[in-house]
Assembly symmetry: C2
DNA sequence: CTGCTGTCGATTGTCGACAAAGTCAATCCG
DNA sequence: CGGATTGACTTTGTCGACAATCGACAGCAG
């Protein structure tokens, strides 16, 4: 890293922010399993910082919903229950629908092109063996739509939901195995956006999320999950 | 407080949680103005706790969106800009619409009755002089709808938005002066809910929020605000 | 063998100390 | 006289110490 960048970084970011980012990375990367305890001293030693910074970071992550803190027991990687996952999908469906509608009204030709590229690239990774390529690109596709939609608040909320859902979402896509179907839905979304059809884009987004939720649910463990033949 | 309750309280809540709740109260109650700096030692002394607890609380409140933290400068009560407020209203409109639709599908007769009582009571407080009665009751009406909707996640998100919007919302209702109109909209909502009309309830909710946003905007300071005659 | 209880190591909760950065005003120089 | 400089004072950033609490395990009673 060059000096100016380093200086800017040090001036703006506190240690706890860095710890927060790092712990988040560990969780999202799966290095910290769902439900696993996060020991303050371990993180502190690993990153070479004091416990205070770690504690502050964990507090923030709790508010974001990535960890759960029990008094005198510690911090644990949050595990989302089946019912919570369903609730979140309902909300997500609504948010993605809104993003689609907003974006259809303002998308540029360049942006349409960018989204199409993602979808085309995703087509190369439909094989389950390529999942570690498909998954992040899929995330990026959705995230870009929210970024392009131009509503910071909406993007923020989506980010939170995404963080909390990441485990469940990965498993759903992977085991549900509907990668090809999923990408067809992506194409429908882009088509509606390209046509500047707000209602169509909104509907396509909602349908996609809803279908994803059902794909996931078909694989979900118990909890009144409908047994699909 | 009786002993069992006290024990349960001590066992579950940490000092920083209490500090967090208290600072939140101070902000929502307006005792800490928008933009005002929150000094750690002042809060610590006032509540008789150490700085660590205060810092943790502030971190959490930052993640919730109630305060903004600048490195080496301190924590400030968050001030929402005009454009942010608009973005949030767009999102809120969508969330309230979802809550209405969900609730219409599951509302009980008792709940319909409860909501009607709120609306009836609100009618008594239409005079601007009674605003300090109208405002909290109005909040409760909306909050109860989300609670009844039965989606914890949705309720959670709504709570966050509400916290951040509280200032702007209070001013909007107060200065916009549309209390009577607002309550007519409330009645439309309850009617649609009572009829178990999901689409109607959703539309009524969205219309209400949208109208509220416009009432607010008509009063908003500058920032390309349309001058209404 | 089962269940209870006391004890111990591990982990978190809270605090204040010290260092670093920012703020502000009096002062100095052009 | 105006703007830069310096220096005291305030406020935050980070750390480790100490206390409180938890969970596990051993030992004992029945």
């Amino acid at each position: 890293m060059d000096a100016p960048a380093a200086i800017a970084l040090v001036r703006k970011t506190s240690l706890s922010s860095l710890v927060e980012a790092e712990v988040m990375r560990l969780i999202l990367a799966g290095e910290l399993d769902s439900g696993q305890q996060i020991k303050e001293v371990a993180i502190a030693a690993r990153l070479g910082v004091g416990r205070s910074s770690v504690r502050e970071a964990l507090r923030a992550l709790e508010a974001v919903g990535l960890v759960r803190i029990e008094k005198n027991r510690g911090a644990f990687v949050r595990v989302v229950s089946e019912t919570e996952a369903r609730e979140m999908y309902v909300v997500r469906e609504q948010l993605e629908g809104l993003a689609g509608a907003l974006l259809a009204a303002r998308i540029t030709d360049d942006e349409v092109r960018e989204l199409r590229e993602y979808v085309d690239e995703l087509d190369y990774y439909l094989d389950p063996a390529e999942f570690q390529r498909y998954f992040p690109l899929n995330l990026k596709f959705h995230r870009r739509i929210f970024e392009m939609a131009g509503n910071g608040r909406l993007l923020d909320m989506y980010g939170r939901l995404t963080n909390e859902l990441h485990t469940v979402r990965r498993n759903g896509l992977l085991r549900g195995g509907g990668l090809a179907v999923s990408n067809i839905e992506h194409r429908n979304i882009v088509d509606a956006l390209a046509a500047r059809d707000a209602d169509g884009a909104s509907a396509a987004m909602r349908a996609h999320v809803s279908a994803g939720g059902q794909r996931r649910r078909a694989q979900a463990p118990g909890d009144s999950g409908s047994e699909v033949a």
